[in-house]
């Protein structure tokens, strides 16, 4: 398969750091695909995107974007990509239109084509009617949308989106996810990083799970779910003061339970048959004086995959 983005044993080690931030990551993204890198904070997602954007040089390995090496042909790579950084990178005292004009010019656009394209991306992000207001008066969600619009302005072959929905309200998040879906439907390739499983599940054609700088799993959602077999994810809501090691050890000893973690008053367990193990688990909790305030049993999904592969829940991070 011809990939538009391809990383080859990518390593990034910062001077003085005990461990590499990115350690031997290899994956490929096909044209027109939405590929998500899913992992907790500090997993190496932003470092990977920074290398692909030519902002960081890899310690070893290489990456190709649209056939150009990030190590030897950075300018060609930069022409092919659009970047949506995690933090809003705009000039607040300029209007949305002025920001877009400036960034378009930095991509070599000018004149009528630029003006037309600015109107088009403003339409895409739903801010055409407020385009002449200064960005500093925008809400967080509106700023995020303009932040994304800048990355789309020059019709890049592939867009790198680094956690574009962090810290915004559900309505704006919904609008952004819908927008990414629509862009992909038009053929745009997207590399999307997130630590929200729901977003990765909703958007992605394929998902790479990254943790501790390593790509620990890669595939479609169903392929990844297959990695945990038929295991169910059980979540028990228990007072945090009762989630002590003796209770967790007792739960781990219940037949069919494969792993147990606890965080923020929620005990998460992987079990072969969730329904069958549930009654015994509640009994164990009661025996340890812990009151179960809520129970959820989920079919195999990404969180279960992450739990199985790392022994930790993604939300623990």
């Amino acid at each position: 398969m011809a990939f538009i983005v391809e990383t080859r044993d990518l390593v990034k080690r910062y001077p003085g750091a005990a461990h590499p931030s990115v350690s031997g990551i290899t994956f490929g993204i096909a044209p027109g695909e939405i590929f998500s890198l899913l992992g907790p904070n500090g997993a190496g997602k932003t470092t990977t995107i920074s290398i692909l954007s030519c902002l960081l040089a890899p310690t070893s390995g290489d990456a190709l974007v649209a056939g150009h090496s990030v190590k030897s042909d950075a300018l060609a790579v930069k022409r092919a990509i659009g970047v949506v950084p995690q933090d809003i990178a705009l000039y607040p005292s300029l209007s949305a239109r002025e920001n877009l004009r400036f960034w378009g010019q930095m991509y070599g656009m000018s004149g009528k084509p630029l003006r037309t394209r600015i109107d088009a991306v403003l339409e895409t992000v739903g801010l055409r009617d407020r385009a002449d207001e200064r960005v500093e008066v925008y809400s967080g969600g509106m700023k995020r949308r303009i932040n994304i619009a800048v990355g789309l302005l020059h019709r890049p072959q592939v867009v790198f989106m680094d956690e574009p929905t962090v810290g915004i309200d559900p309505q704006s998040r919904r609008a952004i996810l819908d927008m990414i879906g629509a862009l992909n439907a038009e053929g745009m390739t997207v590399l999307y990083t997130t630590h929200y499983m729901e977003e990765a599940e909703e958007l992605s054609d394929r998902i790479g799970i990254i943790d501790g700088g390593k790509l620990i799993a890669l595939g479609t959602q169903s392929e990844l779910a297959g990695m945990v077999g038929r295991d169910d994810l059980i979540e028990l809501k228990i007072d945090a003061e009762h989630t002590a090691p003796p209770l967790l050890e007792a739960m781990a000893a219940v037949q069919g339970v494969k792993s147990v973690t606890a965080a923020d008053g929620v005990v998460r367990l992987l079990a072969e048959d969730g329904q069958a193990a549930l009654a015994e688990l509640i009994g164990v909790a009661n025996a340890h004086g812990a009151k179960v305030a809520g129970v959820t049993v989920k079919e195999p999904h990404l969180e279960a995959v992450f739990l199985q592969l790392t022994g930790r829940a993604l939300r623990d991070e």
């Binding site: 030519c54 300018l75 950084p85 933090d87 705009l90 010019q105 930095m106």
Partner: protein
């Protein structure tokens, strides 16, 4: 080039949108110029500069020349004549006068066929740099006029010799008479020149405290603008726009050139506005336009480079702010932005030369006292040197940030 222009225009646009910054860099210096000028009195002249003239030309030419200087420069100079060269130099060394000027025997020079130039020696007092600058400017003009007169005398004698109407043995006897006639015409020529150059313009307007504080405040607020961390590369880094710029197909040298050019153009615009408004509204006389333009460009490039070096070599925005404010305050004090350096002890006056401010203040003093761009050679050399040093430091710092 197009991207450098885009980055430059972006800097201008951002500055124009920053109202507090506009108040700081335009309104505040104008207000301070006015307040300080009025506080010391607009008509309150700087003291005329004391100077000793050792006149070695005892002919009519020499006498008329000194008389002319005393008459024309009475607002600016207090001229004392002396025959004792050593005593004159000692007066300078003892900080009693700003300079000692040795006028050569011009009449003998005019009659001589040696071709050696007549030379006016000025022995300057470094402790009274501005006063010495005024003396240098006035005598530079005088020397120029004498050269013209001397050339005329030499040509006349040469032609008389060539046509046989004057014998070589008669030159010494003939020269004083010719010198007297030249001296007579010299006086007329002086008047003519003075009117043409505007030297007869009210000297008080050029020597009052407003005339001192206008350039002084303009330079200080130029420094505030150029060293403002809000426009620095560190600010771009912290706001995330630097990485976004680096992700565009733009080279590092284009980014740096655009950033520098943006700062320089903003600084030039600020100085142009300050000079224009202070001239029109406050009546400040800045002097020769070409000289003022040259000095502004030199100041903007040197101070801009300094600001860029400080910001790129600082680790954080907060560090840059602290270091910048400290440097600004120290340079403003030792360079005489608030109090003329002539009031300082000698050692402290010399310290002022470490930054661009003192050179700028002295340059503007020269210009406001009738000097031209060609009189700014020391200032040009000093400010260009500073620009080069700070530019190299900026490039090093910029590379560090990009890494």
């Amino acid at each position: 080039m197009k991207k450098i222009l885009t980055l430059t225009l972006k800097e201008l646009l951002l500055t124009s949108r920053d109202r507090p910054a506009l108040v700081l860099v335009i309104i505040a210096p104008l207000a301070l110029m006015t307040v300080l000028g009025l506080a010391f009195g607009r008509g309150d002249k700087l003291s005329p500069v004391p100077v000793i003239v050792v006149n070695q030309d005892h002919s009519e030419v020499g006498r008329k020349l000194v008389e002319q200087l005393q008459r024309d420069s009475s607002e600016l100079l207090v001229i004392t004549e002396s025959d004792d060269l050593a005593a004159a130099y000692k007066s300078v060394d003892d900080d009693k006068v700003a300079a000692a000027v040795v006028l050569p025997d011009l009449t003998s020079h005019a009659a001589s066929t040696s071709g050696d130039p007549a030379r006016i020696d000025i022995y300057c007092n470094p402790a009274r740099a501005i006063g010495a600058g005024v003396v240098k400017t006035i005598f530079a003009r005088t020397a120029e006029r004498i050269s013209n007169t001397r050339l005329g005398t030499s040509v006349t004698i040469g032609q008389l010799l060539a046509t046989g109407r004057l014998e070589p043995r008669d030159v010494q006897a003939f020269a004083p008479g010719l010198g007297a006639r030249v001296a007579a015409s010299f006086g007329q020529e002086r008047v003519t020149l003075r009117e043409r150059s505007g030297a007869a313009a009210p000297a008080d307007a050029q020597t009052n405290m407003l005339g001192y504080f206008a350039p002084s405040m303009a330079i200080m607020f130029l420094m505030i603008l150029m060293m403002s961390p809000s426009r620095s590369i560190l600010s771009e880094r912290d706001n995330g726009t630097l990485d976004r710029l680096r992700a565009t197909p733009t080279s590092a040298s284009e980014l740096m050139a655009g950033k520098m050019s943006g700062m320089m153009v903003t600084g030039l615009a600020q100085m142009a506005v300050l000079v224009a408004i202070s001239s029109i509204v406050l009546g400040v006389r800045w002097g020769n336009p070409a000289g003022v333009a040259l000095l502004i460009v030199l100041l903007v490039t040197s101070i801009g480079s300094m600001g860029l070096a400080l910001s790129t070599l600082s680790k954080t925005l907060s560090n840059a702010n602290t270091v910048g404010t400290t440097v600004l305050m120290i340079l403003s004090v030792v360079s005489g932005n608030f109090i003329p350096r002539s009031s300082f002890p000698t050692w402290m006056q010399k310290i002022g030369y470490i930054g661009p401010n003192a050179w700028g203040i002295e340059g503007f003093a020269k210009l406001s006292h009738g000097g031209a761009a060609r009189d700014l050679v020391p200032e040009t050399i000093a400010l260009l040197t500073m620009t080069a040093v700070f530019f190299i430091l900026s490039v090093m710092g910029f590379r560090r940030i990009l890494r």
